[in-house]
Symmetry: C2
Subunit: 207 residues, 2 copies
Amino acid sequence: MTRKKVKLAYINNDASRKATYKKRKKGLIKKVSELSTLCGVDACAIIYSPYNTQPEVYPSPGGVHRIVKKFKKMPEIEQSKKMMNQEVFLKQKIGKVSEQMKRLKKENRDRELNRLLYGNLSGKMNLQGLTVKDLNDLTSLIDQNLKDINKRMEEIAKKTKIARMTAATAAKVPPFINGEVNAASATTMAYDNDRGRGIRRDLNAQN
Amino acid sequence: MTRKKVKLAYINNDASRKATYKKRKKGLIKKVSELSTLCGVDACAIIYSPYNTQPEVYPSPGGVHRIVKKFKKMPEIEQSKKMMNQEVFLKQKIGKVSEQMKRLKKENRDRELNRLLYGNLSGKMNLQGLTVKDLNDLTSLIDQNLKDINKRMEEIAKKTKIARMTAATAAKVPPFINGEVNAASATTMAYDNDRGRGIRRDLNAQN
DNA sequence: TACGCTATGTATAAAGT
DNA sequence: TACTTTATACATAGCGT
């Protein structure tokens, strides 16, 4: 069966178009009806099609007249205010999608940095190809990772109830359970094993 | 997360109702827009809600006016003809559901008869509790089963390419591959092993 | 031509942030 | 409160009858 992804455009094939019309009109009317019921709002729909001489409406001709009357009472200028029309609808949609794209780009970049970090953990990192921003972000990333690690360590320490362990066993753990390790010290820890500290000072100066 | 099944009734919780309204209104407008595009029809929707002083419409105030105007031109009597309104919509729905129930009942009955048939294949069938209709249906069922079996046999015979088999092996198969076995002979075959043939004549007489 | 089926796409109820 | 996420319910395209 393998259903296609619906090209949002006029359907050229007459039979398909009619079939789609029938199905979607039914679905649409159901939706209007549900919205009215669930949210207790006044809503109507009018659909003109070549398949019926009369328009198909919801909720009923009378109901449509009542709602339309209410609509007509407003001056046109008022009607245009804060109203959902095609243009606004599309613009909002575009805005949302742009936002999402931005997020995705950021996510991608973060992943890339992570890959860089973990891919080089055991060897020496090659920082030559990175921009200043990349390096700063990498620094933040390391900080965040260390914070996460320490947090996790504390959780595990609590859960396993270190206090009840023998002195000999507990002795192996202390470095990780002595209270919280803040961001500054975490960074220091990271750069103590690298040439990074000097670089970071430069970067901070540029910010 | 486990989404509930949507009780089609007014949502009492204010926050939920508003959330649902926003989502569904958006979905509804999208649907109207899609119907217009895909099928090239004139359609509009007007929604009044307590969340906006102005009604929310599709496609635009101007477009709505145009469509509404067209609608208002018709005499009310004409509008009621062949039009989709709430009542017709519900009646059609009820009709469809009734049809489906009918089908399901039939399906259930068929299954029951099948169970009866196969559950008694090796022993003697107890036909005492059955109605005349049950017996007739059971007869049809047996016919159908035999037809299916013969059809399947032929398919298998073709697939395994009997012609290429040795004469010794092929000799075991002939009874099932000698052309098509029609309904009448299938029935005969079935009843040759049973007292059923007599019963069937009686039943046919009653029909 | 219209209707039923079913795999797949889409809408959305809840819960999280 | 509004936006995002996730699991599920719901709508429906393409087929077959």
